[in-house]
């Protein structure tokens, strides 16, 4: 009896977890596709290391 209850209870939970997992990975795949490229740029540091005081 105990085993039966466990099986009945666990099947939908496992299914739900599987669906959640699929949904999450789909979302993350979508997010990574749309992530923009970031270009960090600078120039003319000209030997500057620190202020004199």
């Amino acid at each position: 009896m105990q085993k039966k209850i466990n099986v009945v209870f666990n099947v939908p939970v496992v299914l739900m977890l599987a669906i959640l997992y699929l949904f999450a990975s789909h979302c993350s795949a979508l997010a990574s596709q749309t992530e923009p490229l970031l270009i960090f740029y600078s120039d003319n540091v000209q030997g500057e290391t620190e202020p004199c005081g």
């Binding site: 990574s32 596709q33 749309t34 992530e35 923009p36 490229l37 970031l38 270009i39 960090f40 740029y41 600078s42 120039d43 003319n44 540091v45 000209q46 030997g47 500057e48 290391t49 620190e50 202020p51 004199c52 005081g53």
Partner: protein
């Protein structure tokens, strides 16, 4: 303003959050301020080596060789290149027609190829062993080569060429999507779209970090952000409608009927053409909203260094070591110069007389000067342990300034400056006093210094609160 340590902290924290999709580049003029650095050990070379070491720790993808980087000679750069520093330049050759640096680097970010190449401007220092090829000779074939490897990716040019040359490149080569320039005297330049090239750069001395955020379409052409453009077009249409209504409300002027009709026709035409443009732009905006845009879009930011930003600990350690090395080196230079003076008996070649000599006739003014911060300028360096730093010393000594620049003096001259000329004395503002002291009537000095004299030291980098008129009042000597 903030220093290298703050800059490195900023870059590390910005790129840490975005390692997978970011590209970190510098378009050059990184190492030196002067156009020609003498051979042999010097403070400038020690500082440049530290900058290279620090930059290596943050993983730059590419650093272009600029003319100011060549000021110390090519050997200096090649040593760091051999040490895996990512220098690039497509037009620096040796006498055997061999490229001295990698012409470009390619990085794959989210399945997209990004190629970064560099064109270097000619240095003022004469270089016997290398030459800089004109960009016109190499750019067409180089771009072909890049395009073979990178068919549909992004191409970025790091350029230390002149403004004019950059504009011509942008107009003629629409394959170059981003051009980051390195003009030594320019501030932040917001991305300007020329043909299909975004031209931009950041302010000097590393005070700002530029950030371009690019959303890819498929065509490798820049869109103008259709939402913004749509809003602009709708504003223009509103303005034309308002003008039309105003004109139509008025009765037709009897004398100027032809002009009136002509204006109405012109406005009606403009209205029609704007309405058509708005419809096209609406479609494009819808397409963008649905993620089906063909064009690339960008936003940009300049992120400034802030005084309250934390320092990077590892960089601080390296700068501490640098300061110790600089003190050691400059103490040796100073000693050698002083010893030489004792041996030869030569007097200083400087013609400044110092504040004590001025005070012999201008006692009231000398007493006032002693109460100002100018009189304590050298002590500030002593307390910061920077009194052997040739970058700092000129602004803390009595120096001759002409046309907003210090009289050129060799580092060992600055280091062995006479004690009577330490701190910012009378002659910095009023001019050299030796002739004036012999015949004050014939050789008159400047009473009020022009702003360019003050601004030689009170630059944005060192004094962001400097307002000439306000500060002049604080240091103006009493009359009489």
């Amino acid at each position: 303003m903030g220093g290298l340590s703050k800059k490195i902290f900023q870059i590390k924290s910005l790129s840490k959050e975005n390692t997978a999709n970011s590209l970190l580049v510098d378009s050059g003029n990184l190492l030196f301020k002067q156009t020609n650095i003498a051979d042999g050990p010097s403070q400038a070379r020690l500082a440049a080596s530290t900058i290279v070491e620090v930059y290596k720790t943050i993983g730059f993808d590419a650093v272009a060789v600029g003319p100011l980087d060549l000021a110390g000679g090519v050997l200096f750069l090649q040593q760091s290149k051999n040490d895996n520093f990512p220098w690039i330049s497509a037009n620096i050759f040796n006498e055997n027609e061999q490229l001295l640096f990698k012409p470009f680097v390619t990085k794959t970010i989210q399945d997209r190829e990004i190629t970064v190449f560099a064109l270097s401007g000619a240095p003022k220092r004469a270089l016997s062993d290398v030459y800089i090829k004109p960009w016109e000779d190499i750019l067409p074939s180089l771009l072909q080569r890049i395009r073979k490897k990178n068919r549909n990716g992004l191409i970025v040019l790091l350029s230390s060429l002149s403004d004019k040359e950059n504009q011509v490149i942008a107009k003629e080569y629409k394959d170059i999507h981003v051009l980051v320039s390195a003009h030594p005297r320019k501030g932040n330049v917001a991305p300007q779209l020329i043909n299909n090239t975004l031209l931009t750069q950041t302010a000097k001395q590393g005070k700002h970090q530029g950030l371009l955020e690019i959303t890819f379409g498929s065509s490798r052409l820049w869109g103008q952000n259709s939402q913004k453009k749509l809003a602009d077009l709708q504003n223009s249409l509103g303005s034309i409608n308002w003008q039309l209504q105003r004109l139509l409300k008025k009765s037709k002027p009897s004398g100027n009927a032809a002009k009136y009709e002509k204006t109405i026709t012109r406005l009606e035409d403009e209205k029609k053409s704007l309405a058509a443009e708005i419809n096209t732009m609406k479609d494009q905006a819808d397409e963008e909203r649905n993620g089906g845009t063909k064009e690339d879009n960008f936003t940009y930011r300049f992120i400034g260094l802030k005084k309250n930003m934390p320092n990077d600990q590892r960089t601080d350690e390296k700068i501490h070591t640098l300061n110790q090395e600089v003190r050691k080196l400059n103490a040796r230079l100073k000693q050698a110069k002083t010893a030489n003076r004792h041996i030869t008996g030569a007097k200083s070649s400087l013609s400044l007389i110092g504040h004590n000599a001025c005070g012999e006739c201008h006692e009231k003014q000398k007493i006032f000067w002693e109460s100002t911060r100018h009189a304590k300028a050298y002590n500030t360096l002593l307390t910061k342990n920077k009194n052997l730093d040739t970058n700092c010393l000129p602004c803390h000594l009595s120096m001759e300034i002409t046309k907003g620049a210090f009289a050129p003096l060799a580092p060992n001259m600055i280091l062995s400056y006479p004690e009577k000329l330490q701190s910012v004395g009378c002659e910095t503002c009023h001019g050299i006093g030796n002739k004036h002291s012999t015949d004050p009537e014939q050789f008159k000095l400047v009473l009020t210094p022009a702003s360019d004299i003050c601004l030689t030291c009170h630059t944005d980098e060192h004094d962001d609160n400097f307002i000439y008129k306000e500060k002049l009042e604080k240091v103006s000597c009493p009359a009489g």
